[in-house]
Symmetry: C2
């Protein structure tokens, strides 16, 4: 451990201490979701700090999605949305986006998604089937020129398969990855003839396997779909 020398002048600022205190209260459920925080003035008295310091702490908390500030009304503990967490990831990807990332994402999907399809086949409900079915119809009916919407729909299909596993952890782990797909696909998908037909067929095959609760078949069909995607991307990357 080279932690011997580390952080000497890292004294937390006052506003950071305040931030931590409130964050801890939320983490420990002392402040429940939706709870209204005392007003700024009251909090100033309670913490015995100036409004400036307090407000800067609150700004950070709201930037991180922990609280919601409503002018004229008050501040409320907000349910941390997965979107907030993903927003950070998106920014990260935005800043470090390169073609290498594309193939790495594909690699992960190639490995994870077939297993997800299998789980979905084993656990899906009838409601899941309906959603997936409508999803496929949406793609088939979608205006071919609206590639953005096509990408969104395809994205949602995969996300809905993840949801059909009934395991929220699966959703949470894959959500950040799926959130990247529209951007990537937009670069490529539009240029490939016949790709949409293939995708619709592949999705139908996956759905059918899930309907039959045939995990192994769902696995295989997903492999086909992902490997095709991989091919398309590979072509693009060679250009």
């Amino acid at each position: 451990m080279d932690e011997i020398f580390g952080k000497i002048g890292t004294a937390q600022t006052l506003s950071q201490k305040i931030e931590r205190r409130i964050e801890e209260a939320i983490r420990q459920k002392k402040l429940l979701i939706g709870a209204k925080l005392p007003s700024e003035r009251e909090l100033c008295e309670m913490f015995a700090v100036s409004r400036t310091a307090l407000r800067e702490a609150l700004r950070r908390l709201s930037a991180r999605g922990l609280i919601q500030i409503k002018k004229g009304s008050g501040m409320y503990v907000s349910e941390l949305k997965i979107e907030d967490a993903i927003e950070s990831l998106n920014l990260y990807y935005d800043l470090s986006f390169d073609s290498g990332l594309i193939s790495q994402i594909i690699e992960v999907r190639r490995v994870f998604e077939p297993e997800i399809a299998r789980m979905a086949a084993n656990n899906r409900t009838d409601a899941d089937l309906e959603i997936l079915n409508r999803n496929i119809s949406d793609l088939a009916d979608c205006d071919p020129d609206n590639t953005q919407m096509e990408a969104d729909i395809i994205n949602k299909f995969h996300l809905n398969v993840a949801k059909a596993t009934g395991n929220p952890i699966v959703i949470i782990t894959m959500e950040p990855i799926y959130s990247l797909l529209p951007r990537m696909r937009n670069l490529i998908y539009a240029n490939v003839d016949g790709e949409k037909d293939f995708t619709v067929k592949a999705h139908r095959a996956i759905l059918e396997s899930i309907r039959q609760q045939d995990g192994e078949k769902a696995f295989q069909e997903m492999v086909v779909q992902i490997e095709r995607t991989l091919e398309v991307y590979t072509q693009y990357l060679k250009k």
Copy 2:
């Protein structure tokens, strides 16, 4: 789409506008990593706003990891670390954690980790081997009473396997899950006799497969390890 009625009074506050402006500058690389921002006073003049508004914008940016503020020195554009992005996910997991998630996490690990082990076997470097080796030694040498540290070490082993895949997406995906393990394991692991010996052996087997770059064997060994964990947890959950 029920987006017909939505957000009317969404007037951005001044500090949010400032935040966007600076964020955009960073996203568009007009401000490069490490670049020093003008001082608060200068920025105030440039944006023609008060220091209060400006500072609150800067607090948000630093909370999101885009800039680093050094007292007495200045403000610098910082490289957005993966850890910053993952920190948000961790918080999210933290807030939605309950014992019901344990079995779901196990299910996910059961499906994902063997594949990760296979990827690691294919892509590992010698440096990865060394890290994993030291990790196993640490566990073997660890004070048996210090269950917290044992849990940490085990946690790190799995994370290091993920790192050995060489694919950052894998890390991002799994890191939040691993961050939950110590807490879970602490509840259970301590009570099971002989568990440590088993874990050490299992880890050695996994490492050996990765060393030989035998993906299939690594996959299988990881299955063994995870299913054992699943057993232990199942016993606990039945109590």
